[in-house]
Amino acid sequence: MEYIFHILIIVSIYGILALAQNLVMGQTGLLSAAGAAFYGIGAYGAAILATKFGINIFFSLIFVPILTGMIALVVGTSFARFRDDYFMLATLGFLMIFNTVARNWEEFTGGAYGIAGISKPYIFGFKLETPFSFFFLAFTVFLCILTLHYFISRSSFGRVLNAIREDEDALSIFGYQTSIYKLLAFALGAAFSAFAGVLFASYLTFIDTKLFTVNESILLWAMIILGGIGRNRGALIGALFLITIPEILRFAGFPVELAGLMRQCIYGLLLIFLMLYRPRGILGKYNL
């Protein structure tokens, strides 16, 4: 049973990440590779606050996403002039800078050794140590993000994001300062990713830089492309599918090391297959 809850926790965390990526890439059309960086900033933020200052993860769940959102506002402002492929390369550069800083700023991040001993969240003297209790926290945060995402998508703001994805220049003619909308979407996506990072660090109790590489960003891309660009349900199905594949492979009798490699191959094959036969993804309404 613990194993099931472990899977559900990971699915909840990646569900949050997929929703964040969907807001930035699916709805707004920003080809961002920085998802893993903001996920990592969230995780390192919570880990540093917990291990160096003894701050409860519940507080980190409030402060770290706000701080990450603010970092994204600064980074996004400097990326405002980039579009499409150039924006993707700029965000990829940011991810590489984050990784380099995290690997080399040993005093705070533990360098290549990472940060161990991150505490579990506690509330009113009760520590969420078991997968069962942690699942409720992760799932609650996931539901909050899902509700917030739904609220944004249904608002006039959400409709403007869709129009930016379709034709940013044409939209600006109608009186929209599109750069502000893009910046806000980027910052909201970063804050959402940070929620996932805080949960992940606290659940695993150990993080290092290898967890937040470009592979992680590609996985997030794969999730929303597989499920369907621009649709929350699609993003969640993508997350569920890609998280459970390695587990299914393990039950199919593949050794753990081989299952990991097979997972990468299956991700690649799925993406090629989708681009060939269903570029909109399983539930998608939009083309990339």
Partner: protein, 244 residues
Amino acid sequence: MKYLIETKQLVKHFGGVNAVDHLSIGIQEGQITGLVGPNGSGKTTLINLLSGFFSHDNGEILFSGAGRKKIFPWENQIYDITRTFQQIRLFEQMSVLDNILVILTERHPFLSLFERHTSYHLKQAEDILKRVDLHEKRFDNAFDISYGQRKLLEIARVLAMNTNIILFDEPFAGLFPEIIKKIEAIIKELRKEGKTIILVEHNMTIIRSLCDHLIVLDAGKLLAQGKPEEVLSEKIVLEAYLGE
């Protein structure tokens, strides 16, 4: 004479080519001004400059006598301008209705987060779509409707903006006579409402029927201007534009 829109020695070049070359023209309020000229004469470039789509290299653009050094497209709502595009630019993967609703709702990013389209917005959008005969297509995606309907949807977005100055860039190109009549009627209605319209068009019958004033461009320069009938019979215009 007082003009609503005026350009003084306006210049825009792309590399070594002057698309608009020291152009000084005036557009009067409440009139339909036709803009004609051979391909590459700078008509669309001028529309792009007036709507802030391109920034000009030299000269001045004045709106109601006030000069603007730099025009940003998002300021069009403030300056009461809207436009259509020569190559149709819709929000393709959004519904016909959403293409209109996005024009009607809140512009402020923070306020728009807390706004959902109301029944007032919906009625406004549906009325506009009825006016251009697109109401039945309101739930279709923009890329699923026909070429003529796409042109009408561009016109509908202009109606939704409800600005005083409207720049139409070849709104009749490639259309069936029935839709041409529909768009002609809409443009006439807009003139009745007192809108100031600049119309880029190649069809001289339409120009004669709609325009109060005509400006002819050639190689980015002003070739002739005046009443359509008079301008179109000038020898210099016939030679440069009609090849006669």
